[in-house]
């Protein structure tokens, strides 16, 4: 054994392997430096700042305030409630739509995809204001509903949670559809045919074959939507009418109004940690790696 591993060929191979290793390390080095400089250090600094009180010394006052104040707890509940609801609604709309698109011919699927993507390329601010105009008390939607006799009093679509959700779902939907659609397109249609030939009804084939195969794309989409929602600022600020206050808005108020980096950092840290815990638990319940390797 020992003698064979020392043949010139083996020696050469091992040298090549280790050189390749260095090359790859060298190639990833710029990225590693970037990650450390742009993510690790700022996040570390954020943690540090969150423990600095108003007088500039180390203290827990920023966390204490969050614990004592009813407002902060309310803000966290609002943030997670809005994010979870947006994610669920996006899934409810996005899954059938992606499925529909995956069944179309390439040409029609591309046309549908353009329809999904065009709003995606439009400025978020513009779309949010457009919703404000459409949804307000004397806006287009209420006017149509009243004139058609469906309602007599204008519905409260905006300056509340409803308006915020409508705006956010509209903005987040492409983030769910894109990975999910790609995933559905890559599924071998023969799998479903095989299921039918073995006697499965279409419903059964969907639940036992198709749905599990789309889970990686669905979960990726859900995760992207949920995490992006947690940091939303513009849409709830405009469509929430000052009544839907999410964590990002409070962070901004803390900095703008009181110039209090410590309090703002503490909010950021709590949001980061809570999100981390949620993702960790989610990954334990549904093993992401395993799904990806299916």
């Amino acid at each position: 054994m020992n003698s064979t591993s020392n043949t010139p060929n083996q020696e050469e191979l091992r040298r090549l392997a280790s050189r390749e290793g260095y090359t790859f390390f060298g190639l990833t080095l710029p990225y590693l430096v970037l990650v450390i400089a742009l993510i690790a250090i700022p996040v570390g600094w954020l943690f540090y700042l969150s423990f600095i009180g108003r007088d500039g010394t180390l203290s827990l006052e920023n966390y204490e305030r969050m614990w004592k104040s009813k407002a902060y707890i309310k803000i966290f509940i609002t943030t997670f409630k809005i994010s979870i609801l947006t994610t669920i609604i996006c899934a409810a709309i996005g899954y059938p739509l992606s499925y529909f698109m995956s069944q179309l011919s390439r040409k029609w699927a591309n046309i549908c995809m353009i329809a999904v993507l065009i709003p995606f390329w439009t400025s978020l601010l513009v779309r949010t204001y457009a919703w404000l105009v459409l949804l307000q008390k004397k806006g287009l939607i209420n006017n149509i509903l009243i004139e058609s006799g469906l309602i007599t009093e204008p519905l409260k679509f905006v300056h509340n949670t409803t308006g915020t959700l409508i705006g956010m779902v509209h903005i987040m939907l492409p983030f769910l559809i894109l990975p999910l659609y790609a995933n559905m397109r890559s599924i071998d249609k023969d799998c479903l045919k095989a299921a039918s030939s073995l006697g499965a009804t279409p419903t059964r084939a969907f639940w036992t074959v198709f749905l599990p195969l789309t889970l990686p794309g669905l979960l990726a989409g859900l995760l992207i939507v949920f995490v992006l929602c947690l940091g939303f600022y513009v849409t709830p600020a405009i469509l929430g009418g000052g009544k839907v206050i999410m964590a990002a808005m409070k962070i901004s108020t803390n900095i703008e109004m009181y110039f209090n980096w410590g309090a703002a950092s503490a909010l950021g840290v709590v949001l980061l940690v809570v999100t981390g815990i949620i993702l960790f638990v989610a990954s334990k319940l549904i093993s992401l790696d395993q799904l990806g390797n299916r």
Partner: protein
């Protein structure tokens, strides 16, 4: 040749440095509140005054004294002069964010009494009022703060500001506190809490917390809310545009707006001279043609620069002023930060 390239390079570098520098020697950057208000300032004051001095003045909007705080504390250099309500300005001065104004350069000898401070040179007089939709209420809308807070007598949606300024006063006036005692009652944490509790009592009826004058004008124009707190001039402009809006001077909380300089700006001397120019009565008279905010410089009236009909529309006209509470800037320098924190808390909970 080599030298030529080098020189060209240096020149290019110098050019870059110049163009990226935020302030030229003869350029000032001024920020204000946007909308109909800044339009009047721009046409009536900012640009004519700049032209008279032969300098360039660039305009932008900003979010209030918090932006001044951000600029000064972070060492950024975004604007040289800001337009601000006297209360916010006083609170900024108390925190050491502002340059002291040089009144040997800026002439305020003709200003109405109390219409300038060490850190803020008064430019116009405005009023916070309770505006109501005349489609909803006709002319019999809420004509006092007690009416505004009376949801049984005046059912309908309300809007209030998302910051504390001139909001707590409305609550105490509604609660029956006489005008001359409002700031005495507010001069304690309990007094602030009393005002906040009054606002809490109508919170289910507050449909929107507005964040800018353009926004509350739009809310009234679109009929999105039935009544709101807000600045009289914005409502007058909205009314001229066809909005169904009215207000009563008896709800007025009179305040003045002025110019301040953030601490540490490079063009401080020029900014001082520019503010001095803007204090001239002809600019203030011109500004008042665009929005109903009265001049702080008494010369406007002495020189007859404003006709009587227009003067009667100003919050500062004696007939209107007699019904109003005057905002107390000293209260804001002492309490604003605390009160605003509590106000935010009340909004969120």
């Amino acid at each position: 040749m080599k030298l030529g390239i080098k020189t060209a390079g240096l020149l290019a570098a110098a050019g870059l440095a110049l163009s990226s520098a935020s302030a030229f020697a003869d350029e000032l950057r001024i920020v204000s509140w946007g909308g109909a208000y800044q339009k009047g300032q721009s046409i009536g004051i900012f640009q004519p005054a700049a032209k008279a001095m032969g300098i360039t003045v660039k305009e932008d909007t900003y979010g209030g004294i918090s932006d001044v705080k951000l600029q000064v504390r972070s060492g950024a250099d975004k604007f040289d002069i800001f337009s601000s309500g006297a209360g916010s300005c006083a609170s900024g001065a108390a925190e050491g964010l502002l340059e002291k104004l040089d009144y040997s350069v800026i002439d305020v000898s003709n200003h109405l009494p109390g219409m300038y401070s060490d850190y803020c040179a008064g430019a116009d007089i405005f009023s916070v009022v309770a505006a109501f939709n005349t489609d909803t209420f006709g002319e019999n809308g809420p004509r006092s703060w007690a009416d505004f807070y009376d949801v049984d007598k005046f059912p309908g949606t309300r809007a209030m500001r998302n910051r504390v300024d001139a909001q707590l006063e409305t609550a105490l006036l509604a609660d029956g506190v006489p005008m001359d005692q409002v700031y005495d009652v507010l001069d304690s944490e309990e007094g602030i809490e009393r005002a906040l509790d009054k606002i809490r009592s109508i919170k289910p009826h507050i449909a929107v917390w507005w964040s800018s004058g353009a926004m509350h004008a739009q809310l009234m124009k679109d009929g999105e809310v039935d009544m709101t707190t807000g600045w009289n001039g914005r409502f007058d402009v909205a009314k001229e545009d066809g909005a169904k809006v009215s207000y009563d001077w008896r709800t007025g909380i009179m305040d003045w707006e002025g110019y301040g300089i953030p601490k540490g700006v490079k063009n401080k001397d020029l900014a001082m001279k520019y503010i001095a120019e803007m204090m001239k009565p002809e600019y203030m008279a011109e500004f008042a043609k665009y929005i109903t905010y009265g001049p702080t410089n008494g010369k406007v009236y002495e020189l007859g620069l404003m006709d009587d009909a227009r003067a009667r529309q100003m919050p500062s006209h004696p007939d209107n002023a007699q019904h109003q509470l005057t905002l107390k800037t000293a209260w804001y320098s002492k309490w604003r930060t605390y009160a605003d924190e509590m106000y935010q808390e009340m909004m969120t909970e």
